[in-house]
């Protein structure tokens, strides 16, 4: 049961601007057209920011105000050099924020749950931080035996970066660790491994 209906696995829905918010910020791990990642941005009644990871040192995270069109409020765009660059700036923003703020994260699973963790640590409730998946399905896998997180796992079976165990990726997901659980596949009969399948391209 590698892909199952286990209730801890996140189910993602398309993002929409939460009309009850007083300030909105959308973060994405890659440059994507805003209308592609969230509904309602062009008619939002409250200020909205859109921060993306451009993956180049040529950008400088300067806010680029976009003139309002029609009834919409101004949109503030920023481009960051890398994911840590965005997360660092985000943690400063969260420390200054007040209740009424809404955060939206879109991207690969590791990215969106790192954002969600930062948000939770800043005091945001789950209802105020929405997540959606985009891009590769590859998983972060937490080795339950040695506590190492192995990144970018695309297969049903993966060698742990820490202890080398062949981990079967369980469909059990921890939002705190932003990772799936990995358990040694051949613990009962060493060397007896199931075939490797490409499951999370």
């Amino acid at each position: 049961m590698l892909v199952s209906d286990i209730k801890s696995r996140p189910v993602y829905e398309r993002l929409g601007v939460d009309a009850s918010g007083r300030r909105h910020l959308v973060v994405s791990d890659a440059p994507r057209p805003l209308a592609e990642v969230i509904d309602g941005a062009d008619s939002a009644a409250a200020p909205l920011g859109y921060w993306v990871v451009a993956a180049t040192s040529a950008v400088d995270a300067q806010p680029q105000a976009e003139p309002a069109t029609g009834n919409a409020v101004p949109l503030e765009r920023r481009a960051f050099r890398a994911v840590p660059h965005l997360l660092d700036r985000l943690s400063h923003r969260l420390a200054q924020e007040t209740v009424g703020f809404r955060l939206y994260a879109v991207g690969e699973e590791g990215f969106v749950w790192n954002v969600a963790k930062l948000a939770r640590e800043a005091g945001l409730e789950a209802a105020e931080c929405r997540t959606a998946h985009a891009g590769s399905l590859r998983r972060r896998v937490f080795c339950v035996h040695c506590k190492t997180i192995t990144e970018d796992v695309t297969t049903s079976l993966a060698a742990c970066d820490g202890c080398g165990a062949h981990l079967v990726v369980r469909d059990h997901f921890s939002r705190h660790l932003a990772a799936f659980m990995g358990v040694q596949a051949d613990a009962e009969a060493p060397g007896e491994l199931p075939p490797v399948e490409e499951l999370f391209p």
């Binding site: 009850s20 007040t98 209740v99």
Partner: protein, 316 residues
């Protein structure tokens, strides 16, 4: 199921104002008072004029101190008898049975800051909250609304607390509250207790300012059980018929008939008094059942809900 009770002795009773009276209660048989948490209430079993009343009062004592329990009781004009009985007939040394403390208004332990809005006697649960916040060093802010003639009473109750955290308002203008709601850091939770109009106004204002429901908490026991058309409850299993009068609740009528009916909050919140309905159509007034359960007409919360039909047959 009969809940456990403990006998409590009235160690002190002190009038705070013409309508407010504080009671200090200690275990009648010595020993430690039962432990409780901020927001917990105590249900007193009051025997007055042949009637048994079970009234709930928020505990105002510091939850860390098990030497005693404290409550403050407002004498209500349209009292069913409980508050008048406590004000006029209960004296120091009397013993009162009480249920174990229960908590339907717990504070949110993950919150970074707590913003409290109270009206009048609705301050009481927050006295226990504030004791816990002060002990733990958690930031808090209180906005208390009261009548001008009671300002001095509440100022005295809050006198030893940091003035920067306490805001007393003697009008219903919510401008100060709006300012407060606009500047709360992420992680703040909002609690309100007091007259329904104040609680509703505070909650509506917070939602309008972008506060999600998960951050909003209100004390809901009491007040919900109001009268309606009289009806007859038929307890199918015990073969008893109970007449429910216009001014009494289904639960109280069953209790008066000697039926040991389950209950806890008596305010339609906790779900404990849930009974199956065999025949008839309930008039739901609770906060517990979901839409499908209400529509099924198969369940009723006896503490607050009534009947749309003259007869309601219950599986009890």
């Amino acid at each position: 199921m009969t809940a456990l009770t403990v006998p409590l002795r009235v160690a002190a009773t002190v009038p705070l104002s013409p309508t407010l009276r504080a009671f200090t209660l200690i275990p009648a048989d010595g020993g430690l008072a039962p432990p409780s948490g901020p927001g917990a209430h105590l249900r007193l079993h009051l025997r007055s004029g042949g009637k048994l009343l079970r009234n709930a009062y928020s505990l105002t004592s510091n939850p860390e101190d098990r030497s005693h329990l404290s409550i403050i009781v407002r004498r209500v004009a349209a009292s069913r008898g409980g508050s008048a009985f406590l004000h006029e007939e209960v004296a120091e040394g009397d013993v009162i049975e009480a249920g174990l403390p229960a908590n339907l208004f717990p504070l949110v332990r993950t919150a970074r800051k707590h913003l409290m809005v109270s009206g009048g006697i609705g301050l009481t649960p927050f006295l226990a909250y504030i004791a816990a916040f002060e002990a733990a060093g958690t930031p808090w802010e209180l906005h208390h609304f009261c009548r001008p003639d009671e300002r001095a009473v509440f100022e005295a109750l809050l006198a030893r607390l940091p003035a920067s955290r306490v805001h007393i308002h003697c009008d219903m203008a919510l401008g100060a509250l709006e300012d407060a709601l606009l500047r709360q850091p992420l992680g703040t939770h909002f609690y309100t207790c007091g007259p329904a109009a104040l609680m509703e106004a505070g909650l509506a204002l917070a939602q309008a300012l972008g506060w999600p429901k998960v951050r909003l908490h209100s004390e809901s026991f009491g007040g919900a059980a109001e009268g309606g058309a009289p009806f007859v409850a038929v307890l199918r299993r015990s073969g008893i018929e109970v007449a429910v009068g216009a001014e009494t609740s289904l639960l109280a009528a069953m209790e008066a008939a000697g039926v040991d009916a389950p209950c806890l909050c008596r305010g339609g919140a906790c779900g404990q008094c849930l009974i199956e309905v065999a025949e008839g159509e309930p008039e739901h007034r609770d906060h517990f059942l979901d839409e499908a359960e209400r529509a099924s007409n198969r369940l009723i919360m006896t503490c607050v809900s009534r009947s749309r039909t003259p007869r309601l047959v219950l599986e009890l």
